[in-house]
């Protein structure tokens, strides 16, 4: 427990991580409340202001895209979608990863050996290709998107949780709890979870940007979120095509994605340093 206090202190003295946390909070707030400040819908086409640059005076703070849609609204919606997918898919990853890892670590023996071999084989393969493949094969369904991304991101989490579970199993206090007659559920809740939670939090924080990047990647290629919905990936793809004439269409969503990913990574790194978590060998 005392290591928790030390961790909080270490985190607080890390300016990069704190800044990052603040930035993330601001972005999330913007995506949730931002649209209130600007009356433009993300789908409304404003033919009088096609591809106009950002200005504070006009109705379009971030400018408009090729179809006259307000970029402020579009970018915020894109961010909302990316964040939502990121969190949802991360949740899926986490569930699969924690479940798999805890199981492997707890059962041990040959089952564990087999389960780890599976993970090793999967880790070696370019899973992004399989995600693309699944998307091709199963159609461009957004639920498929969540699931397939989540199915790809659970590997590291599983490894971490397995390592933690294995080392925990051998610690005396678990044996003591078992001997004293505590039920398995109680053991898990009161003993296993508090000890596993540190690394889990860290890698969860690092999984989210990874997944957001995956989703953006797929959307960018046209395999993820479909028109007319926007995700940061689709916005960047559209912007890339307009680079010479209207660079802000690229710069604004691109910049937002970059900042978001950077902040998430910095926060994850900061948490990792604070909780002193090491990658399993």
């Amino acid at each position: 427990m005392s290591s928790r206090v030390g961790a909080a202190r270490r985190l607080r003295s890390n300016p990069g991580a704190l800044c990052a946390a603040l930035i993330i909070a601001v972005i999330v707030a913007l995506t949730l409340f931002g649209p209130w400040f600007n009356p433009n819908g993300s789908q409304t086409l404003d033919w009088s202001h096609v591809a106009s640059p950002p200005t504070w005076q006009s109705a379009h703070w971030f400018g408009t895209d090729r179809l006259g849609r307000d970029l402020y609204a579009r970018t915020l919606e894109g961010a909302r979608v990316s964040l939502a997918v990121g969190l949802l898919a991360s949740a899926v990853s986490l569930l699969i990863g924690i479940g798999y890892g805890a199981l492997a670590g707890f059962i041990g023996g040959r089952t564990d050996h087999l389960m780890m071999r599976i993970i090793e084989t999967l880790s070696g393969l370019p899973l992004i290709f399989f995600v693309i493949f699944l998307n091709v094969v199963l159609g461009r369904n957004e639920y498929i998107l969540f699931l397939s991304i989540g199915a790809v991101g659970w590997l590291t989490m599983a490894r971490i949780v397995r390592g933690q579970t294995m080392s925990l199993r051998r610690r005396e206090f678990i044996e003591a709890a078992i001997v004293s007659g505590a039920g398995t559920a109680r053991i898990i809740v009161k003993h296993v979870i508090p000890n596993v939670i540190g690394p889990v939090v860290v890698y969860a924080t690092l999984t989210v940007p990874h997944i957001i990047m995956l989703e953006s990647f797929l959307s960018f290629l046209g395999l993820g979120v479909q028109e007319p919905h926007a995700s940061l990936g689709t916005l960047i793809a559209a912007g890339a095509g307009e680079m010479e004439a209207a660079p802000w269409i690229l710069l604004i969503p691109g910049g937002l994605l970059a900042v978001l990913l950077l902040a998430l990574n910095l926060l994850g790194d900061g948490l990792r340093d604070a909780l002193d978590v090491r990658e399993p060998a």
Binding site: G124, V136, V137, L138
Partner: protein, 308 residues
């Protein structure tokens, strides 16, 4: 040594086999076919197309035919690029992808290792923080964001380099794509090298090297570098995977005719054989990389015994 190599190679075949099989059946099991995108064709033409591409055979026959063709290096015809077989597309596109991918990998190593070493030697200095901050930036920001930005700065505002397009034997078109591909692994390698080097710098044998009066550069080059690079060696296969992934997007944006772009096109067009072929190529590449990394490990640390 040769025995180990061959054993591992033999072991890789089943994995590849599994990959091919799974992807094959997944593809065939999917609803819709490669011709669904086009306007609804009259049933007679549809039937003819099916026969021409062998799609009317029972699935096991198709599978067997595919495997047999594969053994001869024939990936089948592309369903969309009617005049080309997948093999031809691979042969056309692979050199381009290899060129930018290999260059990116080599650059990432040639730049990342010295940067990481420098950061470790000047720990906690301003240069160290700067280098590691840049590394995080490289890691966090995906190549499909970096490349357009680079294109914007260097292509449009400064007019130094072309933003997209490709000419054979022309380096100018490759500079920005290679840069975008290099940055993420560069960041990771710099961080890993720094961490590895910091560990090694504290070790006893480096103290002995200092006590022997060896100059710093010999200490680093001969004594510290190899053990410090072990984490980097572990990262090589994921690095190649990341470059492969990046090449998909970079080739698409920059209009480079590599297999990455074909893969993306194939995915968008539901061109089964093309996508299948690409998946096989990429997986094979990764497996070979894994083999190579094992050998590299043994060289970096002679205590490692290669177990078949």
């Amino acid at each position: 040594m040769l025995r180990y190599f061959l054993t591992r190679l033999a072991g890789a075949v089943p994995t590849l086999f599994v990959i091919v099989t799974i992807t094959f059946f997944l593809v065939r099991a999917a609803p819709g076919g490669p011709f669904d995108q086009e306007q609804t064709l009259p049933p007679q033409i549809m039937a003819n197309l099916q026969t021409a591409y062998g799609l009317d055979q029972p699935i096991w026959t198709q599978y067997a035919r595919y495997l047999r063709a594969l053994a001869h290096g024939d990936f089948g015809p592309s369903f969309k690029y009617k005049d080309f077989s997948v093999t031809e597309l691979i042969v056309q596109g692979f050199p381009v992808t290899l060129e930018i991918g290999a260059t990116a990998m080599v650059l990432a190593l040639l730049l990342g290792v010295p940067i990481g070493t420098f950061a470790a030697l000047h720990r906690n200095s301003a240069a160290d923080y700067a280098a590691m901050s840049l590394a995080v930036v490289g890691i966090a920001i995906p190549s499909f964001v970096v490349l357009p930005f680079l294109g914007l700065v260097f292509g449009i505002y400064v007019h130094w380099l072309p933003v997209a397009g490709w000419e054979p034997r022309s380096m100018r078109y490759l500079v920005l794509p290679i840069a975008a591909l290099t940055l993420p692994p560069l960041g990771v390698i710099a961080r890993l090298t720094r961490a590895g080097m910091l560990e090694v710098l504290r070790s006893d044998f480096l103290r002995t090297a200092a006590a022997k009066g060896l100059p710093l550069r010999i200490m680093i080059w001969r004594h510290a570098l190899r053990p410090a690079l072990l984490p980097v060696a572990s990262y090589l296969a994921p690095a190649v995977a990341s470059i492969m992934t990046g090449s998909l997007v970079v080739e698409s944006i920059a209009g480079l005719p590599g297999i990455g772009r074909y893969m993306v096109q194939g995915a968008l067009n539901r061109d089964y054989t093309l996508v299948l072929g690409m998946v096989i190529i990429y997986s094979t590449l990764l497996i070979v990389m894994g083999l190579f990394v094992d050998l590299l490990y043994a060289w970096l640390d002679p205590r490692v015994r290669l177990h078949p």
